[in-house]
């Protein structure tokens, strides 16, 4: 393969994985920005989305049903978790880390018990490949990227142009003042947590046809999401999306020239360097 074709492939792959990463990280970033908590179990919402997608698709034969039902189900679960786990500990940052770590294991092991240790795949709703001169590329991956782009835009619109978004931004800036102005911050917290979980679950649903559902898959994305959120600046939507693509592209391009392990090191190094120069991330407050 020529250098150009390799580069094209690396950019394509980097973009697709960037979109998935952006969906997942955006939820994490929202939850951190609005609620000031670190949700260690965020990856498990991604996993639950994937596992439910498998279940629903297998039971109904319709992937579209999974796209609609799975994220809603996970959002419902997130609302319950917010009420039962996070509110009683008053969103205390330290206690939340411990509690969500417990949640991570709980969700993971429950999935192991109910769904099993196997990796299961779903047939892509849209098969076939696009034949480029040098290689073939799955059509579904391009659809996936497009759907993710629409969802990212919708989330941005929600935060920028709706009352809920306004309240979220107000709570993010200063919860006490927001409350003084009549913002129901508990409800805002609940909405932010559910939205974050829903985005992660949607990412999970979308990857099942190209990857597979497995009870440990939540951990794969979690580390990268943390990296992305820190790089983009905690709580910044634009920063999170840009950082997702940066990480995706660096990983994709570096794995052409170096071994994959070196690519990972390179991506981590870039993050570390950015943080040395800008402690708050690319778009965060320092």
């Amino acid at each position: 393969m020529t250098f150009v074709s390799q580069l094209v492939l690396a950019l394509l792959e980097g973009t697709v994985s960037g979109f998935i990463l952006a969906l997942m990280s955006l939820g994490l970033s929202l939850v951190f920005g609005v609620m000031r908590i670190v949700n260690v179990a965020h990856g498990e919402f991604f996993m639950l989305g994937a596992v439910l997608a498998w279940w629903i698709t297998t039971a109904t034969g319709s992937f579209l049903a999974a796209v609609i039902v799975a994220p809603l189900a996970v959002m419902g679960m997130a609302i319950a978790i917010e009420r039962v786990v996070l509110r009683p500990i008053r969103y205390s940052p330290g206690a939340t880390i411990v509690a969500t770590l417990g949640l991570l294991y709980l969700l993971q092991q429950m999935t192991l018990m109910l769904y099993g240790p196997e990796a299961r795949a779903v047939t892509p709703p849209l098969g076939g490949t696009i034949e480029l001169p040098w290689f073939g590329y799955a059509r579904y991956k391009l659809v996936l990227a497009a759907v993710a782009a629409v969802l990212l835009l919708a989330t941005w619109g929600l935060v920028r142009a709706t009352t809920l978004g306004l309240r979220m931004r107000a709570t993010q800036q200063d919860p006490e003042i927001a409350q003084a102005f009549g913002v129901p911050i508990h409800r805002v917290y609940r909405a932010a947590f559910a939205l974050g979980a829903g985005l992660a679950a949607m990412a999970g649903v979308l990857v099942v046809p190209v990857q597979q559902a497995h009870y440990l898959m939540g951990l794969d994305g979690l580390l990268l999401s943390f990296m992305v959120v820190i790089l983009g600046g905690l709580g910044s939507i634009g920063g999170t999306v840009i950082a997702s693509f940066l990480v995706g592209w660096i990983d994709g391009i570096a794995s052409i020239f170096f071994t994959p392990t070196v690519a990972r090191i390179a991506a981590s190094l870039v993050v570390a360097l950015v943080l040395v120069v800008r402690g708050g991330g690319l778009f965060g407050e320092s």
Partner: protein
């Protein structure tokens, strides 16, 4: 309370009469094989002999959970058969299972728990090499026989210790040495290798490359893939267009993605494919995305589909573990087994039985006799105890050698096209555990 006391009294009286009966039975046993048939009935009552305790270090959770589930099922099935045959040296077998989470650190703790808390006689059944590499040294320190079912070359390499054995499954070096000639002869001489970027993958890389080069083949690309990778398309450009064969060995849940992306990338222009069933253990060959494997070849240790290795022993073994003709659970056709690995658990338990009985082992004070007896064994005959086939055991390196199978994916099933001989995989031992002090 009263009833409990009564119960106790009743039991002890009964025990006395049983003991007398046993004496009589013992006398009878001296005359012939009668004891063999009576033994199960003896155990059905109050056990006159303390059980032999065997600890299964299982990957119940973590990345190895699919294997762990089947290793445990196989172990339970084997123990049932052994106990029905009269146990080990007339003693019933008690299986104790502990989960190590497929985690090296917990692996060490499990070994300690088995040795110090459960006080088992033997520990066995560990699969993932990183867990074996962490646990085996601790077993050596605690001086307790540790029999792994791992495939790794780590036992045979001499890296571990005199207490660690692998008598129930062959190692990667033997496997790839045995199948290399078939690949080079039938699939082609320009070979690209895709393998996991850790010890298990390096065994494949080093030993297959060496074996293939000796046969005049050329390894045109080596593509290591980190075990946590979830997308693979970006690695395929490293494979030159004019290769004859892609040799792939992958472990973990991402294999479905791997095969699917390989299909998308190469399309109809694909080279021939040779893979290891390790990638697809626990995975239904009819899963979406695996269409691309149609016509390709896979190594198997024991054919997943019934009738491909047609022996009465294989049939009995399959039946006892509860596996159907497609290699899945009899109760759930979607629950696919790890058929090319789990027989090792079965065979290892029967090895323990054979060695305990040959060595006169009665308790931990007889460990020396157990170890030395096992080291002297040269053959395990094919039979219900060894349904995968006969094994040549090399005491110096604590490793068994056996036959291998090459199968082709035909109609989303596996059909055996070649079976190697035991000697095809034999290599010169590079270590000698028997010289280590006990």
């Amino acid at each position: 309370m009263l009833s409990v006391r009564e119960g106790t009294t009743l039991m002890s009286t009964e025990k006395l009469t049983r003991r007398e009966m046993l004496k009589a039975l013992g006398a009878l046993a001296g005359f012939g094989a009668l004891s063999r048939f009576l033994a199960p009935y003896v155990y059905a009552g109050a056990s006159p002999q303390p059980p032999i305790k065997i600890g299964l270090q299982a990957h119940r959770t973590g990345i190895g959970a699919v294997y762990g589930k089947w290793y445990e099922r196989t172990a339970r099935a084997a123990v049932k058969v052994i106990n029905a045959q009269g146990g080990i040296a007339g003693r019933p077998v008690e299986l104790i299972v502990e989960d190590d989470g497929t985690d090296p650190k917990r692996g060490i703790e499990v070994v300690e728990k088995f040795a110090l808390e459960h006080r088992v006689d033997f520990i066995f059944g560990t699969l993932f090499s990183h867990v074996v590499l962490s646990s085996a040294p601790r077993a050596g320190e605690l001086k307790i026989p540790y029999l792994v079912v791992s495939e790794g070359y780590h036992v045979a390499s001499g890296k571990l210790n005199r207490w660690t054995f692998q008598p129930g499954i062959t190692d990667v070096r033997a496997q790839v040495t045995a199948i290399a000639p078939w690949i080079v002869r039938n699939l082609g001489k320009r070979i690209a290798m895709i393998f996991p970027d850790y010890a298990f993958g390096y065994d494949h890389r080093d030993f297959f490359s060496a074996a293939a080069r000796k046969l005049g083949a050329e390894i045109v690309a080596l593509v290591p893939i980190p075990p946590t990778e979830t997308s693979f398309t970006k690695y395929f450009p490293r494979i030159p267009r004019n290769v004859d064969v892609i040799y792939h060995v992958m472990v973990g849940p991402a294999v479905l993605t791997f095969v699917r992306e390989m299909g998308e990338f190469f399309g109809q222009r694909r080279p021939k494919l040779f893979g290891f069933i390790d990638s697809l253990e626990g995975v239904d060959l009819a899963s979406p995305g695996l269409e691309y494997l149609e016509g390709s070849y896979l190594w198997e240790a024991l054919p997943r589909y019934a009738g491909q290795y047609n022996t009465p022993w294989e049939k009995q073994y399959r039946e006892a573990v509860g596996v159907d003709a497609n290699g899945a659970s009899k109760t759930d056709p979607k629950d696919v087994s790890t058929y090319s690995h789990m027989f090792g658990v079965w065979e290892t338990l029967f090895v323990i039985k054979e060695v305990v009985e040959k060595s006169g082992y009665r308790g931990p004070k007889d460990y020396r006799a157990f170890v030395e007896t096992l080291e002297k064994i040269e053959w395990f005959e094919e039979g219900l105890a060894h349904p995968q086939g006969p094994k040549r055991f090399v005491g110096k390196i604590h490793q068994a050698f056996g036959q291998q199978f090459i199968s082709q994916v035909v109609g989303r099933k596996l059909k055996v096209v070649h079976r190697t001989k035991i000697e095809d995989g034999m290599y010169k031992p590079e270590a000698d555990y028997t010289k280590q002090p006990l």
